[in-house]
Subunit: 337 residues, 2 copies
């Protein structure tokens, strides 16, 4: 493998000059620059990234901590983040951690060891309700961090998130405005955004003036969140005598499960039962009727995360937290009664 000496020798200049050309420093004459670039092109020389990293103390790499890359929602985020970082000439190191705090911490450690310039924590799974305990671990790594879809108070931690509270409230209200009056809320976690959604749902019920007795909620833990299992549990609820005419959920999978249960409950969707999912993922178009869902602006959030991170790395001051509004996307599953 060629190194910078080889190039400098071939070009008849010093290594400093070659280095300057490589980093296009202004202190090189146009003539020399062209000469060196020609030699580089001809020889096929590629600078050694490790040596470069040693000297510059960065390899322009961002760590992406993803609890589950196979999750459709997170994988979209992954794609968006990677693309945006690449546009800014940063490479992305991917670590799929799982959702356990210990796994998350191991991931953070691994990324620190790799000397990334910054880290993105994807998803609020990383921030449980025990925010304080969590923050400490995150703070120890003195690297800028950005969290997608959760918020955390700490010095070098930034975040971009959707107003899940407002979006879930609006989803519920869009149903009550159409005459639905006995909501069921299906949710899978109470991490940061899970809490927001949960509270937003109840806020909506409150605004719509729905009596407590007409409100049902059902937790289906993430590890049980398969279409079949959701069907089973929703149907069980129905058999217990619980009644509902509309469903708001914290995830599209839950909504698909509810939709597929409708038949067993002898309910027509929409009409007897209206359903709204969350995330507006591609499966919304796979069902019949198609699934209404909350678009939580993933693309924008990712773009924002990248902008923030790049800004920080350039030494600019950046807002600690950015919040976008979600949007209810109406499809067949939630049209009027």
């Amino acid at each position: 493998m060629l190194n910078i000496y080889d190039v400098s020798k071939q070009a008849g200049v010093s290594i400093a000059t070659v280095s300057r050309v490589l980093n296009n420093s202004p202190h090189v004459s146009a003539k020399t620059k062209k000469l060196v670039m020609d030699v580089i092109a001809a020889s096929g020389y590629v600078p050694n990234a490790f040596a470069r990293g040693l000297g510059l103390r960065t390899m322009k790499t961002i760590g992406l901590l993803c609890p589950d890359a196979s999750d459709p929602y997170l994988s979209s985020a992954l794609s968006a983040l990677e693309k945006a970082f690449r546009d800014n000439l940063y490479d992305c190191l991917l670590v799929c951690t799982g959702r356990q705090p210990s796994e998350r911490d191991a991931g953070i450690l691994s990324l620190s060891a790799h000397h990334v310039d910054g880290m993105v924590l994807m998803g609020s799974s990383f921030v449980s309700d025990v925010a304080v305990e969590n923050a400490m671990i995150l703070e120890t790594a003195d690297i800028p961090m950005a969290i997608l879809n959760a918020s955390l108070q700490a010095e070098h931690i930034y975040s971009a998130r959707c107003d899940d509270f407002g979006a879930t409230r609006d989803a519920l209200l869009s149903l009550t405005q159409k005459g639905y009056s006995r909501p069921l809320y299906l949710y899978h976690a109470l991490n940061y955004s899970g809490q927001q959604k949960f509270q937003g749902f109840h806020e909506g019920c409150h605004i719509a003036g729905i009596p407590e007795s007409h409100v049902t909620t059902l937790l289906i833990p993430r590890e049980n969140m398969t279409v079949a299992e959701v069907q089973r549990r929703v149907f069980a609820l129905w058999q217990e005598g619980k009644r509902f005419d509309c469903v708001v959920t914290s995830d599209d999978i839950l909504a698909v499960g509810a939709l597929k249960t409708a038949g067993s409950m002898h309910l027509k969707v929409p009409g007897d039962l209206a359903i709204i999912g969350y995330n507006n993922s591609s499966i919304c178009q796979c069902t019949s009727p198609e699934l209404s869902s909350v678009d939580n602006r993933l693309e924008m959030l990712c773009q924002q995360i990248v902008n923030t991170m790049i800004g920080i790395l350039q030494g600019q001051e950046m807002p600690r937290e950015v919040v976008y509004s979600g949007k209810v996307i109406e499809r067949g599953s939630s049209i009027a009664k």
Copy 2:
């Protein structure tokens, strides 16, 4: 930031000894080892990865070239690959390239510049029919490469793939054995695996003795492969007078589109129309009836890719190409007439 000198000073040993402990060389006494490890733990020292990379000429990093991380199939692969590489103490650099050869090549360049130890090309999109032209570019980077789901003849290029030919043939035959006799084949690309599937489909028709006139094929290019668009095109086919009673596809999305078109064509699924998708992705359980699909053993393939790569990096001899059989997973959409 602490460096190895600080640690050596604090421990009262030379930096060589610290380095030996770090790389757990056998040439350190147990006593010294413990002493140094204690100092490291107490000080919170983390070795500089760039310096380490410079000396060792590797940072134990694998490049993952993914045409589209938001694709459910590829994101599952991503997750599986990352996990398996991590288990072998390799970090993964993710590059989402898109499917254009030029994008692919830019990705390869970017990964080369980062000095990864090996690269995985995810998916046969990277290998078009112009195999020779492609191979040349791949060969220039003198880094071990592994290709998922495609095959390519070249010195340092390895591959693990599913027998897509056989799997598609079997899918078709499973339908004809149930009495279906007028197959429609929906496909989205003719890259490496696309060709295999296409030929497998025709092979199946041949074996089943289906006359040419009863066979329909329809290409729906990947960029148009949305449920709505597939519906539109399949229905258009029907209106043109083409008739079919079963559908084999190269991707689950196509199958979902076909399934959702059945209503418009006044066909009952199954019975009037049977459908089998490809990839056995999670959307198969979102539809009613649920979608039969070909499981192409993604987990195994990924595991194999990682094993091969690790083996190569350890200097072992590894098989150039490994092929697994696919499996038709029967669900509601393809039971007997």
